[in-house]
Amino acid sequence: MLRNLPGLAFVLWLVSLVVFLLPLAMPGDPAGIALLERQQAATEENLQALRQAWGLDRSLPAQYGQFVIGFLSGDWGVSLRTGRAVVEEMQPRLPWSLAIGAGGLLIATLACLPLGHAAACRPGGLLDASTRALAVAAQSLPAFVLAIVAAWLLSAQWRLVDVYTGGPAQRLLLPTLLVALYALAPLTRLVRQALRDAADQPYMRTARAKGLSRRQALRRHGLRPALLTLLAALTPQAAWVVGGTAVVEVAFAIPGLSQLVVESIASRDHPVLRAYLLAVALLMVAVQAAAIVLRRLLDPRPAACAA
């Protein structure tokens, strides 16, 4: 991993550049939008004054430099929409998004192992067919549709959960479960397939010959390789969860980071968007690094032998 550091640094630099430039490609002038929101005339003088106050009148390299240095030192800039520090905007929202995203992914990761194992033990059985159907449904049903249906059933019809106005636990329940459900489907199929592949290995025949049942053999000797496969799938799933969280946050009126990002896109709030994108990129790198470390712990063999 240390050998990869220069490469990683280069990738992160490239990502920071893209993140900096991307909001500039959006149509609409943030200064013009802000002036109109403040009911101020969008004269050239007013536009210039605002751009100067925001530092937008400086050259792009200077702005980029400040963006990177500021990000690394914890100063993520000021929201053009609210005037508050970006960090101050994000802080109260982070726990909500973290609970939904990380919570959902954790539930999916923990649940996919026993489910995948049970599906692998009885190929073609009821559980196997159910997990396959779940995977297809997750691909076909948009998350916001399921969110609305779930809210309608559990709140409006059965009044089991205060989806919108309950305490944090009630409000987080459905969004977290939805995120977990959408992550669970592909992970379960992955674990199931990994166990099926493991079942065909010579060491599994040895295990069976020693008297272990199919179920026991898969559990004792198949789960570790399945875990390795699972770890490899976690980074793309984590990426999906970031996007999926946005959908459920809006659908369930959760005051999370994604809601902030949606509002920032509408108002062309460049500092918020940049900070968010770069933070997510770093998060993905961290997830990938954690996956690599865990993989090494599970499989200490050198890479050449691990294949």
């Binding site: 609409g28 939008i33 009911q39 989806v163 106005t165 062309r268």
Partner: protein
């Protein structure tokens, strides 16, 4: 005991205790009234953006003057506003009023607050420019303005001029005080102990929803007691539920369509007049299933509404387009000098009715031989300020302070910041000058009507309809009567305990 507390009974006991505690907590929650809205104050500082409007809407802030249920201006924290010989105004406050922290509302506090807002918030300078306020004694203050006005009461009724005590956390006078503000989520309110009737007033939470449909779901689930501004398609479902009701009310907003006069195809007044004549306003009302046809800029139930209907005359519209040189080709489409007449009609999703109106208008204009493409823009401010439109559907409260001067001046004066059509009309400017000089109510009504008709004749805009908004109510608020648009959602009479 040990047997009784064995493993198969202990979980049951714990579950029972959990259920009891959750139920008790739920009972506590039920004491609080919960109001659902799609907009929430982002800040408790009235000098900040449109926070002043939001705080009044939330029942936290009050102004010196306010528009009542009958659409007429009346004193709120002030008793009177009288003009002095030198053009300044002397405002007399109501005695005995207090802020929510118990401090008395004095002229000095009011002067400090309004001066601060006027200095920091450009919207507070829109009507009269910079203000100089001076406390004359405990209950009187003098106001001098950069630009003269004959209607200071109306100016002070504008949404930026919420009265507050300047402090680290501003303190207000409304029936409610802010206990906690969770930006983007909810605001918890407690009754202002120093506002009349406080002991009968329940605690209240305003919960923000991303859209009307999720708000309707929350109302169905009895999670909220009121859903403010529901989509019309949710009404039958809600009405069919026991314990739920809906009420509809005209809101003072007008739907209108701006013409971008900077575009060559719309620079000719005949073209703009033709577009206005092509529209059947009754069709628009049918499309959104509620409302009234517009007769002009102001709703029919206001003193400033014009009584003559805006005509629909497709034959006349066609003649005007022919005169302007836009002739029908063999394909039925209009063109001039080889250029087809193509227009982009923009609406924004924050007002769903406007999106509903798009295809209706497009069909009408297509029948005239005009090719119309529709676009939904998420950021109407950007579209309006940049002039990136041919036709722009818009919703605007045209009498927020009860006086027509605000709307006419802001949107039709040559060069004004909200002159979205970009029309510079000496006739309109002269009419607005006469309105600015009109002092008595009768003079103002007449001058406003004249300016109003001049605007209609010059056609920078076509007024379409007066919408009706819908409010869903649970049993606790079944007696609530909505009025005042979204300027007065939480009022002193909401949910009073008997």
């Amino acid at each position: 005991m040990k047997t009784w507390m064995s493993m198969n009974r202990l979980p049951l006991l714990l579950a029972f205790l959990a259920l009891v505690s959750v139920s008790a907590a739920a009972q506590g929650q039920q004491q609080r009234v919960v109001v659902g809205k799609t907009f929430l104050a982002a800040s408790a500082d009235p000098a900040d953006g449109n926070a002043g409007w939001a705080l009044t809407s939330h029942g936290v802030g009050e102004k010196l003057f306010s528009v009542g249920r009958d659409g007429r201006l009346a004193g709120a924290l002030a008793r009177s506003a009288e003009r002095a010989a030198d053009g300044s105004w002397e405002v007399a406050l109501q005695p005995g009023r207090r802020f929510s922290d118990g401090a008395p509302v004095t002229a000095a506090e009011v002067a400090a607050a309004l001066a601060r807002t006027n200095e920091r918030n450009p919207a507070a300078r829109a009507s009269v420019g910079r203000m100089t306020l001076q406390a004359l004694d405990e209950l009187r203050l003098r106001i001098r303005t950069e630009r003269p006005t004959p209607v200071m009461a109306a100016v002070l009724a504008e949404w930026p001029f919420v009265v507050y005590r300047v402090a680290e956390r501003p303190v207000f006078t409304g029936p409610y005080a802010i206990a906690a503000l969770r930006p983007g989520d909810a605001v918890d309110l407690v009754p202002n102990a120093h506002h009349p009737g406080a002991e009968q007033r329940p605690p209240l939470t305003i919960k923000r929803f991303p859209d009307g449909q999720s708000m309707a779901l929350a109302l169905e689930g009895r999670e909220i007691d009121m859903a403010f501004n529901l989509p019309v398609e949710s009404l039958p479902r809600l009405r069919s539920r026991d314990g739920l009701g809906t009420k509809s009310f005209p809101v003072g907003y007008q739907y209108m369509m701006w013409f971008n006069t900077r575009r060559p195809s719309l620079a000719d007044v005949r073209v703009r007049q033709a577009l206005g004549l092509a529209i059947d306003r009754r069709e628009l009302v049918q499309a959104v299933r509620a409302g009234e046809v517009a007769t002009g800029a102001f709703p029919l139930d206001t003193p400033h509404a014009l009584r003559e209907t805006l005509p629909t005359d497709t034959a006349q519209a066609a003649r005007l387009l022919d005169e302007a040189g836009w002739l029908r080709g063999a394909d039925g489409r209009r063109a001039r000098d080889g250029q087809p007449l193509r227009l982009v009609l923009v609406a924004y999703p924050q007002r769903p009715d406007l999106v509903t109106l798009q295809p209706v208008i497009r069909a009408r204009l297509a029948a005239l031989g005009i090719e119309v493409r529709t676009r939904v823009a998420e950021q109407p401010s950007a579209v309006a300020s940049s002039g990136d439109f041919d036709l722009l559907l818009w919703a605007q409260h045209t009498l927020p302070a009860g006086d027509p001067g605000f709307f006419l001046e802001a949107f039709f004066r040559s060069g004004s910041s909200s002159n979205f059509p970009g029309l510079s009309s000496p006739e309109i400017d002269r009419a607005l000058d006469r309105l600015a000089g009109a002092e008595s109510p009768a003079e103002r009504v007449a001058a406003a009507a004249a300016a109003h008709r001049t605007v209609i004749a010059q056609a920078p805009v076509s007024f379409l309809m007066t919408p009706v908004w819908h409010v869903g109510l649970g049993s606790r608020l079944a007696g609530y009567e909505p009025w005042g648009s979204d300027y007065h959602v939480v009022r002193a009479d909401m949910g009073l305990r008997r």
